[in-house]
């Protein structure tokens, strides 16, 4: 029975392409038009959704799986469609459900339309497990008819880390509860990624593809009004521009950004930030609005530099109280980072020692750190190995772990002064671990023989050692033979 149902539904989905609203009711038509207007370039997907949920007489499918990249309009289109079709639906985000108990309770609370009252936390549906969940759902359904409702679950990816039976149960919720309840999953990954042994009943899948560049352009053009507001808010003198001007800007903008990022939300944000910069020459009367070539020439380097801050929404308040996005130099230059970092003197040496311990093989320790070591005989093999290309450099491989004793031994070897071995020194090691410059490898239970790895790169340690007047290359086996 279920199989037959599924096939009929599938037929319905596929038929969406052929039937183009010719037999749709006026209400549905209106919804379709309206949705298409709000979400351009998604007509296929909207059609598919509408076909599934268009009539209340026909039963909804058991489960629908909607997937596609980030910000391709999955959740918002579903929400919009369901809302306009006047279907009773509940939308939850798995991200806040860190336990399955939490998930059940949120769903139940939302379905029963209860508000949690903070004074006593009541009325509150308590639900520990799946059995209880289905029972409670039935109970709610006996009061408020849940037939024909839809449960939308966002960010289903997280389900993979939760109870094993959860996905299966949600896929078959209709069967388990006997209520005609449709579950819509929204996810960013393929359904096949949910590895499960038991026979899962496959949901109906709707794929939301990435927007193309043209589509993005069209969508972002809808922000024209917003951009005008932005200009009014940011410049004293209003600049009047038309849609083509904005279109030109977006074209320029996307030509730089499209290759790096297809996330609509992020693109919108970046375009907002950069639009002000784009209009700045006009504001200062250096350019006219029509001079798009000069504007482009102005903009190109700025866009490239702001490409570096993609996804990092950082504002730095400087003393002049003006807010601006800092150039990449500040954020990313390792030299600045190392210079701006304040570390006590010995902590710096400990860090250098940790780096040396991580990136030197143990067998070289004697040669590097002891003042009177016997000269190592260079075999031909060694020489060959060293003359080989830089693939063999330890500094280019990942850090190796080292023991605490070795760290201290190297620390004392590289330090000229005689330093007392005291507790303040040892505390530094743990504070370096806390700052994530060192990583503990062994578990915390064994107090003895802790093992660490160094978590900094060569440029960083090089700047620090330069500040201390310490030649680190001399002590690295990769460089010492040069």
């Amino acid at each position: 029975m279920a199989r037959r149902f599924q096939t009929t539904v599938r037929r319905r989905v596929t038929s969406a392409y052929s039937v183009h609203g010719s037999e749709l009711s006026p209400n549905l038509k209106h919804v379709k038009l309206y949705t298409n207007e709000c979400f351009p370039c998604r007509s296929n997907e909207i059609d598919q959704l509408l076909n599934l949920f268009k009539s209340k007489e026909e039963p909804y499918p058991c489960s629908v799986y909607v997937y596609g990249g980030p910000s391709t309009g999955k959740s918002s289109i579903i929400k919009h469609v369901l809302k306009n079709l006047k279907i009773n639906y509940v939308m939850i985000n798995i991200i806040e459900c860190y336990t399955s108990k939490n998930l059940y309770e949120i769903i139940l609370n939302k379905f029963s339309g209860l508000h949690v009252y903070p004074l006593n936390g009541q009325p509150y549906t308590k639900c520990e497990n799946l059995m209880e969940f289905t029972y409670q759902l039935k109970k709610i359904s006996s009061i408020i008819n849940l037939n024909g409702s839809v449960l939308v679950i966002d960010k289903v990816d997280e389900l993979r880390d939760m109870d094993l039976n959860l996905l299966n149960a949600l896929l078959k919720l209709k069967e388990l509860t006997g209520i005609s309840l449709c579950v819509v999953f929204v996810s960013e990954i393929l359904f096949e990624k949910y590895v499960s042994r038991s026979n899962v009943c496959e949901p109906i899948k709707i794929y939301f593809p990435q927007y193309t560049k043209e589509q993005l352009l069209e969508i972002m053009k809808k922000d024209y009004n917003q951009a005008q507001h932005l200009i009014v808010n940011n410049f004293q003198k209003p600049i009047h521009f038309d849609l083509t001007f904005y279109h030109n800007y977006l074209n320029v903008f996307l030509s730089v950004f499209f290759r790096a990022c297809k996330d609509l939300a992020e693109l919108k944000h970046m375009s907002k930030v950069n639009f002000i910069k784009y209009c700045d020459p006009i504001n200062q009367n250096e350019n006219t609005i029509n001079d798009s070539v000069t504007l482009w020439r102005n903009m190109a380097p700025l866009l490239k530099s702001s490409l570096e801050t993609l996804y990092l929404r950082v504002l730095i308040k400087n003393s002049a109280k003006s807010v601006e996005i800092q150039s990449k130099e500040f954020l990313f230059s390792k030299e600045k980072l190392a210079q701006s970092l304040e570390l006590p003197y010995y902590a710096k040496f400990l860090l250098i020692a940790a780096y040396l311990a991580s990136y030197n093989p143990v067998k070289d320790d004697k040669r590097l750190f002891m003042k009177f070591h016997e000269k190592s005989k260079k075999s031909i093999k060694d020489v060959k190995l060293k003359s080989k290309v830089s693939e063999h450099y330890n500094t280019q491989l990942g850090p190796k772990m080292f023991s605490f004793d070795r760290l201290l031994a190297i620390f004392y070897a590289i330090l000229d002064k005689k330093v007392g071995f005291n507790n303040n020194l040892l505390v530094q090691v743990s504070s370096l671990v806390e700052l994530q410059f060192l990583i503990t490898i062994s578990d915390n239970c064994s107090l003895d023989g802790q093992k660490y790895k160094c978590n900094i790169n060569f440029e960083f340690v090089n700047t620090i050692s330069k500040m201390l007047g310490f030649n680190i290359r001399k002590y690295l086996s990769d460089f010492s033979h040069m």
Partner: protein, 710 residues
């Protein structure tokens, strides 16, 4: 419980109610603490310590809030403004704090307090150790928001009895938080308005402070940010992150789909070295702080700060410890007090023992030796005379400290920006030189004055002006009668005037030199060979160098004057009598300040007498006696060995020390008593436990030494 309650003719068991027992216990313990404090507080030295420390603490606290006020102010503004407009991301403040954790606690608590006072009462502070996973984090968060608010309101209106105390932990979820928040701000029923007046105001933001970003599990934090983002339209959450290292850690620990959900605003707080300098200059290097650290101790503390931990609070605690050590010497130290009046009164009240206590100070001997014979006896025996001298000397000492600071600061202004800064860039560096030796005799000081001799006029004038301002401000406030300090200022002003005048005269001088140049010019232009020309030029350059212009003359005499004055006032503290009263220079507190566990274990094992104080082991360190503890014997024997130690040989040696009477010829065949062997095994085990040896895999019956040197 009182004894007499249980006195009875018959034997019996007496029942006391639990509550009473606990109460009595508590009061007892309280009393005990009270009495012990009471005992101390009788002593004058403790009194002066307490007044001094409380005043210092107040100053430090004031300084703290002042230091952070600018950063905190802008942070508080940011939080207040964050939800004024619609937001697309979770507003986040990243406070770059610098690496020292312990110092930050105060900073974040004051931030929370300011936020509570000015912006919103909903502030939650999450520490990494309480938030191992997302469930704990959310529970903790909601608990702080929902329940703490409840406690506050309970205090306000006690009559509302039916209100349950706390929400159970099992009920915590974000739904609950949402419900709570909506009830607070969205319901427009008048009942709420009456109950809480603040609710009438606009919605208040929920601030989440995360002081130790690095220590957090990044996954937990990511999840939390995503949750906050999903609730962005319902709950206005603002996140404040305390980042110890740098901003890039934020980006490395958050993937892009998370980092695009927050809009980060960065705030910098001041580096801790600057903070230390500020504390030192404003609290300890002031004219009215009587307690001074001697050079050695001061250097020790600064070294600990710079080399080990960068912790200002640690530095202050160290000073506190030094103060405790200093004052606990005895009542002589009570003279280390702020007001003159008090010192006079204290000296009046001095008993004979107190005088003796003071006489035991080392510098007293110098004082005695410098006096004539009769006076010596008087000083040693006559308390009244001694008191007069003491008062005089203490006042002298006070004056000396005052001037020391004034002139050190003047010197600092002069030399702080010299190339390479021979005396250091910071006041604390000059202080440490000035208190450990006579600064005017040091090599660096001479270098500085040589460099000053090359200073241009503008720079020198600016410096002198600053010195005048600095010294002048102190002089005008506190003294009216003309004294040495005022004289100093007046003299400097005169020099400045001279330079100004010289400025006007300069034109004349230039003309004069022009004239001379003109006169000399034809001589050069006359025909000469190369050698002659060279000689001529050399001679000319010599001449000009000999002739100092007027500015140079003034500079010379000014520097001479300055140097003379500095020589008078910047003497080393140990040249003063009774300097011990105000200067604490006992380096032996080093072992208390810096814990050296390895050295402590070594000395315990190598010289058990040091800790045990027994009579039997009182002999030079090298000897090994049978009366020592077993582990100590084993340890001393192992010190004599090489890298690998043969257990059997070690056992033999051990037995021969413990049981030396057995003088058999063939040692090897000697039967070892099982008890001795057991003792030896235990000692070896203990050594292994302490980490001095470990079992060797290379050779059977051998152990490896793990430590070297002693």
């Amino acid at each position: 419980m009182e004894e007499d309650q249980t006195v009875s003719v018959s034997k019996g068991v007496f029942v006391f109610k639990n509550g009473i027992k606990a109460g009595s216990k508590k009061s007892k313990s309280k009393k005990k603490v009270g009495t012990s404090l009471h005992l101390l507080s009788e002593n004058p030295w403790y009194k002066s310590y307490e007044t001094l420390w409380t005043s210092l603490e107040e100053q430090i606290d004031g300084l703290n809030s002042e230091m952070f006020s600018s950063v905190l102010g802008s942070l508080v503004d940011f939080v207040g403004e964050s939800y004024r407009f619609d937001v697309d991301e979770v507003p986040t403040a990243a406070l770059l704090t610098g690496i020292n954790m312990p110092d930050h606690k105060a900073q974040f608590t004051s931030l929370a307090k300011q936020l509570k006072d000015n912006v919103t009462e909903h502030v939650a502070c999450l520490y990494a150790q309480d938030c191992q996973n997302i469930k704990y984090l959310v529970d903790n968060l909601i608990n702080q928001f929902v329940n703490e608010d409840r406690c506050d309101s309970d205090e306000d209106d006690m009559e509302v009895v039916d209100k349950p105390q706390r929400i159970k932990k099992s009920l915590f979820s974000l739904q609950l938080l949402q419900g709570w928040y909506e009830e607070l701000y969205l319901t427009e029923t008048p009942k709420v308005e009456i109950k809480k007046e603040k609710c009438k105001n606009k919605k208040k933001v929920l601030v989440v402070i995360i002081p130790d970003f690095e220590a957090f599990n990044p996954e937990v934090l990511q999840r939390f940010i995503l949750i906050a983002y999903s609730y962005i339209n319902v709950l206005p959450i603002v996140i404040v992150l305390g980042i110890a290292t740098s901003l890039s850690t934020l980006h490395t620990s958050l993937p892009y789909h998370v980092s695009s959900k927050v809009s980060v605003q960065v705030f910098h707080s001041k580096p801790s070295t600057e903070y230390l300098n500020k504390v030192l200059e404003d609290v300890f290097f002031t004219l009215d702080c009587p307690f001074q650290l001697g050079g050695k101790v001061f250097n020790l503390f600064v070294d600990i700060f710079l080399f080990y931990d960068f912790s200002v609070s640690g530095f202050i605690q160290n000073i506190k410890y030094a103060m405790l050590e200093h004052f606990s010497y005895g009542n002589a130290m009570s003279l280390c007090s702020e007001s003159k009046k008090e010192i006079k009164q204290l000296i009046k009240k001095f008993k004979h023992e107190d005088c003796e206590n003071t006489r035991r100070l080392l510098s007293f001997r110098k004082l005695v030796e410098s006096e004539s014979y009769e006076n010596r006896i008087k000083l040693l025996t006559d308390d009244d005379y001694f008191k007069i001298v003491l008062e005089e000397e203490v006042f002298k000492l006070r004056k000396y400290i005052r001037r020391l600071h004034i002139f050190l600061k003047a010197l600092w202004i002069l030399v702080c920006d010299l190339p390479k800064a021979p005396l250091g860039k910071h006041l604390r560096e000059i202080y440490s030189v000035g208190t450990s030796q006579s600064i005017t005799k040091s090599q660096e000081y001479k270098e500085c004055f040589q460099l000053l001799n090359f200073q241009s006029k503008e720079e020198l004038c600016r410096k002198i002006e600053r010195v005048i301002m600095n010294v002048g401000s102190i002089v005008n406030v506190s003294y009216n009668k003309p004294n040495k300090l005022q004289e100093f200022v007046i003299n400097l002003k005169a020099y400045l005037n001279d330079m100004d005048v010289e400025n006007n005269e300069e034109v004349d001088v230039e003309i004069l030199t022009d004239v001379t140049n003109n006169m000399e010019e034809p001589e050069i232009s006359g025909q000469m060979d190369r050698k002659q020309l060279k000689e001529k030029l050399l001679g000319m350059s010599k001449q000009t160098s000999k002739q100092m212009n007027r500015y140079e003359q003034i500079r010379q005499s000014l520097l001479n004057y300055l140097s003379e004055t500095f020589e008078i006032y910047l003497t080393k503290p140990s040249s003063m009598y009774f300097h011990e009263i105000c200067f604490f220079n006992d380096i032996s507190i080093r072992t208390h300040i810096i814990g050296e566990h390895r050295a402590a274990i070594h000395s315990a094992l190598n010289n058990p007498h040091h800790y045990l104080q027994c009579n039997c082991c009182d002999f030079p360190e090298t000897a090994i006696r049978s009366c020592m503890p077993d582990i100590s014997i084993a340890y001393k024997l192992h010190l004599e060995c090489g890298k690998l130690i043969n257990l059997y040989d070690w056992l033999q040696a051990f037995v021969s020390i413990i049981d030396p009477y057995d003088d058999d010829e063939d040692d090897a065949k000697r039967i070892i008593h099982p008890e001795l062997q057991a003792r030896f095994t235990q000692a070896v085990q203990e050594l292994e436990f302490l980490g001095f040896i470990k079992s060797s895999k290379r050779k059977a019956d051998h152990v490896t030494r793990t430590t070297w040197g002693g």
